[in-house]
Symmetry: C2
Subunit: 101 residues, 2 copies
Protein backbone atom coordinates (compact mmCIF):
# COMPACT_ATOMS: atom_id res chain seq x y z
CA UNK A 1 0.00 0.00 0.00
CA UNK A 2 1.15 3.50 -0.88
CA UNK A 3 0.28 6.73 0.89
CA UNK A 4 0.16 9.82 -1.32
CA UNK A 5 0.76 13.09 0.53
CA UNK A 6 0.11 16.57 -0.80
CA UNK A 7 0.19 19.77 1.24
CA UNK A 8 -2.17 22.16 -0.53
CA UNK A 9 -1.79 25.90 -0.06
CA UNK A 10 -5.04 27.41 -1.27
CA UNK A 11 -5.20 31.02 -2.41
CA UNK A 12 -6.40 33.32 0.35
CA UNK A 13 -10.16 33.86 0.53
CA UNK A 14 -10.82 30.85 -1.74
CA UNK A 15 -11.02 28.16 0.90
CA UNK A 16 -14.83 27.84 0.83
CA UNK A 17 -14.85 27.49 -2.95
CA UNK A 18 -12.00 25.00 -2.75
CA UNK A 19 -13.85 22.84 -0.22
CA UNK A 20 -16.96 22.89 -2.39
CA UNK A 21 -14.95 21.92 -5.48
CA UNK A 22 -13.25 19.16 -3.51
CA UNK A 23 -16.60 17.70 -2.49
CA UNK A 24 -17.31 17.30 -6.18
CA UNK A 25 -13.79 16.20 -7.18
CA UNK A 26 -13.48 13.44 -4.60
CA UNK A 27 -15.97 11.37 -6.55
CA UNK A 28 -13.43 11.26 -9.39
CA UNK A 29 -10.59 9.92 -7.28
CA UNK A 30 -12.82 7.45 -5.47
CA UNK A 31 -13.75 5.85 -8.78
CA UNK A 32 -10.11 5.37 -9.82
CA UNK A 33 -8.65 1.86 -10.01
CA UNK A 34 -6.46 1.02 -7.02
CA UNK A 35 -7.87 3.85 -4.86
CA UNK A 36 -8.35 2.71 -1.27
CA UNK A 37 -9.28 5.81 0.77
CA UNK A 38 -8.58 9.50 1.18
CA UNK A 39 -8.86 12.27 3.71
CA UNK A 40 -8.75 16.03 3.40
CA UNK A 41 -7.56 17.83 6.51
CA UNK A 42 -7.28 21.54 7.27
CA UNK A 43 -4.28 23.05 9.06
CA UNK A 44 -4.82 24.52 12.51
CA UNK A 45 -1.79 26.82 12.33
CA UNK A 46 -2.39 28.05 8.75
CA UNK A 47 -6.07 27.90 7.77
CA UNK A 48 -5.54 28.17 4.01
CA UNK A 49 -3.35 25.05 4.10
CA UNK A 50 -4.84 21.58 3.55
CA UNK A 51 -3.43 18.11 3.68
CA UNK A 52 -4.57 15.52 1.19
CA UNK A 53 -3.77 11.90 2.05
CA UNK A 54 -4.73 9.24 -0.47
CA UNK A 55 -4.10 5.55 0.00
CA UNK A 56 -3.48 3.54 -3.16
CA UNK A 57 -2.96 -0.16 -3.66
CA UNK A 58 0.20 0.43 -5.77
CA UNK A 59 2.30 3.48 -6.67
CA UNK A 60 1.36 3.11 -10.34
CA UNK A 61 -2.34 3.30 -9.53
CA UNK A 62 -1.69 6.97 -8.79
CA UNK A 63 1.20 7.93 -11.07
CA UNK A 64 0.03 6.04 -14.13
CA UNK A 65 -3.57 4.95 -13.66
CA UNK A 66 -5.03 8.11 -12.17
CA UNK A 67 -2.79 10.83 -13.59
CA UNK A 68 -3.00 9.53 -17.14
CA UNK A 69 -6.75 8.94 -17.07
CA UNK A 70 -9.44 10.97 -18.76
CA UNK A 71 -11.20 11.81 -15.45
CA UNK A 72 -7.95 13.34 -14.17
CA UNK A 73 -8.48 16.21 -16.60
CA UNK A 74 -11.71 17.01 -14.77
CA UNK A 75 -9.94 16.72 -11.38
CA UNK A 76 -7.29 19.19 -12.58
CA UNK A 77 -9.89 21.61 -13.92
CA UNK A 78 -11.81 21.53 -10.65
CA UNK A 79 -8.87 21.91 -8.26
CA UNK A 80 -5.53 22.99 -9.67
CA UNK A 81 -6.39 26.68 -10.05
CA UNK A 82 -6.82 27.01 -6.28
CA UNK A 83 -3.19 26.20 -5.43
CA UNK A 84 -0.41 28.71 -4.87
CA UNK A 85 2.28 27.49 -5.00
CA UNK A 86 1.54 24.33 -6.91
CA UNK A 87 1.93 21.44 -4.47
CA UNK A 88 4.72 18.90 -4.34
CA UNK A 89 3.30 15.39 -4.13
CA UNK A 90 5.19 12.62 -2.37
CA UNK A 91 4.55 8.93 -1.84
CA UNK A 92 5.21 6.97 1.32
CA UNK A 93 5.36 3.33 2.38
CA UNK A 94 4.68 2.24 5.94
CA UNK A 95 7.72 1.38 8.03
CA UNK A 96 7.40 -2.01 9.63
CA UNK A 97 8.27 -0.67 13.03
CA UNK A 98 5.45 -1.92 15.17
CA UNK A 99 6.21 -5.62 15.80
CA UNK A 100 4.46 -5.47 19.15
CA UNK A 101 1.09 -4.79 17.53
CA UNK B 1 -9.77 14.57 16.62
CA UNK B 2 -6.46 16.16 15.65
CA UNK B 3 -3.91 14.87 13.18
CA UNK B 4 -0.30 15.79 13.93
CA UNK B 5 1.97 15.81 10.88
CA UNK B 6 5.75 15.92 10.90
CA UNK B 7 7.99 15.39 7.89
CA UNK B 8 11.25 14.03 9.29
CA UNK B 9 14.48 14.42 7.32
CA UNK B 10 16.90 11.97 8.87
CA UNK B 11 20.66 12.46 8.52
CA UNK B 12 22.07 10.44 5.65
CA UNK B 13 23.24 6.93 6.57
CA UNK B 14 21.37 7.02 9.87
CA UNK B 15 18.04 5.66 8.71
CA UNK B 16 18.51 2.18 10.17
CA UNK B 17 19.47 3.59 13.55
CA UNK B 18 16.55 5.99 13.39
CA UNK B 19 14.06 3.20 12.68
CA UNK B 20 15.47 1.17 15.56
CA UNK B 21 15.22 4.16 17.91
CA UNK B 22 11.67 4.81 16.72
CA UNK B 23 10.64 1.24 17.52
CA UNK B 24 11.64 1.99 21.08
CA UNK B 25 10.29 5.54 21.19
CA UNK B 26 6.82 4.69 19.93
CA UNK B 27 6.07 3.01 23.25
CA UNK B 28 6.40 6.44 24.87
CA UNK B 29 3.90 8.18 22.62
CA UNK B 30 1.46 5.27 22.77
CA UNK B 31 1.27 5.62 26.52
CA UNK B 32 0.45 9.33 26.40
CA UNK B 33 -2.99 10.55 27.42
CA UNK B 34 -5.20 11.37 24.43
CA UNK B 35 -3.05 9.40 21.98
CA UNK B 36 -5.20 7.51 19.47
CA UNK B 37 -2.86 6.05 16.83
CA UNK B 38 0.28 6.75 14.84
CA UNK B 39 2.03 5.68 11.69
CA UNK B 40 5.58 6.11 10.48
CA UNK B 41 5.96 6.11 6.70
CA UNK B 42 9.08 6.30 4.53
CA UNK B 43 9.28 8.46 1.42
CA UNK B 44 9.57 6.71 -1.94
CA UNK B 45 11.16 9.71 -3.69
CA UNK B 46 13.61 10.60 -0.88
CA UNK B 47 14.52 7.58 1.25
CA UNK B 48 15.93 9.52 4.20
CA UNK B 49 12.59 11.32 4.60
CA UNK B 50 9.89 9.98 6.89
CA UNK B 51 6.36 11.02 7.65
CA UNK B 52 5.03 10.78 11.17
CA UNK B 53 1.26 10.99 11.55
CA UNK B 54 -0.16 10.92 15.06
CA UNK B 55 -3.85 11.10 15.87
CA UNK B 56 -4.76 12.78 19.16
CA UNK B 57 -8.08 13.24 20.83
CA UNK B 58 -7.49 16.99 21.36
CA UNK B 59 -4.78 19.44 20.27
CA UNK B 60 -3.70 19.96 23.87
CA UNK B 61 -3.08 16.26 24.33
CA UNK B 62 -0.07 16.79 22.07
CA UNK B 63 1.01 20.37 22.71
CA UNK B 64 0.53 20.36 26.46
CA UNK B 65 0.08 16.80 27.67
CA UNK B 66 2.78 15.06 25.65
CA UNK B 67 5.31 17.82 25.08
CA UNK B 68 5.35 18.92 28.71
CA UNK B 69 5.51 15.41 30.13
CA UNK B 70 8.48 13.71 31.70
CA UNK B 71 8.49 10.86 29.12
CA UNK B 72 8.84 13.45 26.34
CA UNK B 73 12.41 14.04 27.52
CA UNK B 74 13.16 10.41 26.72
CA UNK B 75 11.41 10.73 23.30
CA UNK B 76 13.57 13.77 22.52
CA UNK B 77 16.77 12.04 23.61
CA UNK B 78 15.96 9.01 21.46
CA UNK B 79 14.93 10.81 18.27
CA UNK B 80 15.75 14.50 17.95
CA UNK B 81 19.45 14.06 17.15
CA UNK B 82 18.57 12.23 13.92
CA UNK B 83 16.83 15.21 12.29
CA UNK B 84 18.40 17.71 9.91
CA UNK B 85 16.79 20.17 9.60
CA UNK B 86 14.67 20.04 12.72
CA UNK B 87 11.10 19.30 11.59
CA UNK B 88 8.17 21.67 11.52
CA UNK B 89 5.15 20.07 13.17
CA UNK B 90 1.62 20.98 12.07
CA UNK B 91 -1.83 19.98 13.26
CA UNK B 92 -4.81 19.25 11.07
CA UNK B 93 -8.54 18.77 11.50
CA UNK B 94 -10.62 16.71 9.09
CA UNK B 95 -12.72 18.66 6.60
CA UNK B 96 -16.30 17.51 6.63
CA UNK B 97 -16.34 17.02 2.91
CA UNK B 98 -17.60 13.47 2.52
CA UNK B 99 -21.34 13.66 3.17
CA UNK B 100 -21.95 10.76 0.82
CA UNK B 101 -20.05 8.34 3.05
Amino acid sequence: MILELAVLDVKLHQTEEFEAAFRDAQRIIRASRGYLSHELQRCVEKPNRYLLLVRWRRLEDHTEGFRKSEPYQRWKALLHHFYDPFPVVEHYVAVNSTPCE
